[in-house]
Symmetry: C2
Subunit: 371 residues, 2 copies
Amino acid sequence: MGRVHTAHGDFDTPAFMAVGTRGSVKGLTPDMLRDAGCQIILANTYHLMLRPGAGAIAALGGLQKFTGWNGPMLTDSGGFQVYSFGDRRVLGEHGVYFRSHIDGSMVHLGPEKSMQVQYDIGADIAMAFDDCPPADCPPERLAAALDRTIRWAGVCRRRHDQLDRETRQALFGIVQGGVDFARREHCVEEILPFDFDGYALGGLAVGEGHERMIQTIEFTAPLLPPNKPRYLMGAGYPRDILEAVKRGVDMFDCVLPTRNGRNALAFTSRGTMRLRNAQYSEDPRPLDETCDCLCCRRFSRGYLRHLFSVGEMLGPMLVSLHNVRYFQRWMLDIRQAILDNAIFELVAPKMDISASAAGPASPNHGGSAAD
Amino acid sequence: MGRVHTAHGDFDTPAFMAVGTRGSVKGLTPDMLRDAGCQIILANTYHLMLRPGAGAIAALGGLQKFTGWNGPMLTDSGGFQVYSFGDRRVLGEHGVYFRSHIDGSMVHLGPEKSMQVQYDIGADIAMAFDDCPPADCPPERLAAALDRTIRWAGVCRRRHDQLDRETRQALFGIVQGGVDFARREHCVEEILPFDFDGYALGGLAVGEGHERMIQTIEFTAPLLPPNKPRYLMGAGYPRDILEAVKRGVDMFDCVLPTRNGRNALAFTSRGTMRLRNAQYSEDPRPLDETCDCLCCRRFSRGYLRHLFSVGEMLGPMLVSLHNVRYFQRWMLDIRQAILDNAIFELVAPKMDISASAAGPASPNHGGSAAD
């Protein structure tokens, strides 16, 4: 239980950030996000630098004014996205050259450029630019990536200090090392001297499985300063979040609420609910009788089922709204349990979809095509 | 200037109804509609009887509870839709048999069935089931359609009186006759004795052109009772509405605000604005500086352009919301001009898209695929 201060307001921890990859949490207005209890939103450097471009966002007053979300915003560094390009990119000491997925032009993104873009667009929390190779690549590539992540952490720190002389923007470092404890420890030791404002655990929730993810968190989190936020990138399911909180993680982001909401899958206090199912055709009950969101206050399962059945966009809007609220309520439960000294008694509701860490590589990270 | 009372509240006239064909005004929650100034919403009998079915809507508490729109609702009779099927339907004295566009099954819709469906789903204003052939069909077909529309008006009246003994549901008759004044006059004379609660002008805004539409309204409207609402179905553009109001029309519906909103075309006090245009990329101004809608209060043209550029659904949501508000503000201007005895001085802003009545047959009527 804590509170983080940013240039555009505070947020409580443990915190879950809804993902607005391209400057919009899909299907939801900023008012809806606020009503759902969101306090901080994530946006994606890679996508925004391509469209509309950092210059356009700066010209339109920065991320907050641009998006209408007048609260804290975190931007990822773009590293995760450009590494997913595989053969379409060339990696070097100054970053990555890749072909834009928009128009095929060559684009460069590296530690200095990422700092510049995140500064120009006005993120409250910027992320260091790291080298995050796929979990299944050869050991020598993993070792090289870790070394580069550490060197780039220093590059990001210096560039950020030059840019942000008024220190309004926080900068988080990223700990890599896969599920190898020695590598994680080495990375932490090397980047702690840069004195970041917070520390993220990268390279997790990318297919390693729930157990190995949690073990890695359990090992790594205590190595990080207790007075700075710890952020598990790209996770996760309610259970992932709870287990990570128990091990000292403060911040989370995931596309699950909105991506599943658009696909008619609702998270509820009794598990998941697939609204395309005909059993809901004449069901007058709200999605979740314990929920206080607009969707649950006003609409029946039968109506929501109808909206998806006929392809009305109000269906994705309402179920995304509910799911975002579900995750915010889950964070409220977690914070209350911490206050009550009962976090280890809290039980996550069972969700009958495969856990994030058991799925294909990183389907749930922001900035993927399917956020 | 007037006010119409219904079982679910009142609405002011002249009134513009946003179109919620399948029980949802595309991309907008009921709260957004209310904030935009909507007082009455139109839904479509044909689409709703197929999905989710009248039984499901009744089981879920009727249209208002089903949709969450706790205000007046009008349903069209379904006639307009089934006649657009051409070869896929068989017309007889009891109505139309056609193949469902959902599953190919044979479905029947006629005057008695339409009354039953509209009653079961709980519309505040039901429309008589008419025979509305294409404007370009042979004269003998037009004559037969008019005779049938008149006979069916009586069938609808009797069936409605049986169903609605508490007289909570209003029933409007429909005047057909194309642009032939003699036919219009004949139709009015024949259906007036049924003492409908209001009268619609059907078969207009279907490709006859603005001038002929207005001339037909000018001839027909004065034949209708002055103390009952007159409704011009499926129109229109701000100019169409104004000219029709001057000739005594009280109610309108059209898909223009939402259909165009989804396609990045905004109606503004200075004309239309195509938000995909690159000129708006870094434009910090609101869509319409005179507008008080959420979209104009919070978002820039640059952000809206970005949303459409990257395919974010928030773009269609926000511009639909603005356009709905634009039409409601236009109705406020019209009502104020009536109060000020200045309606004949009011000038409609020029919109640089072809006028509704000059386009292809009936593209702007609710219930078409592209509402």
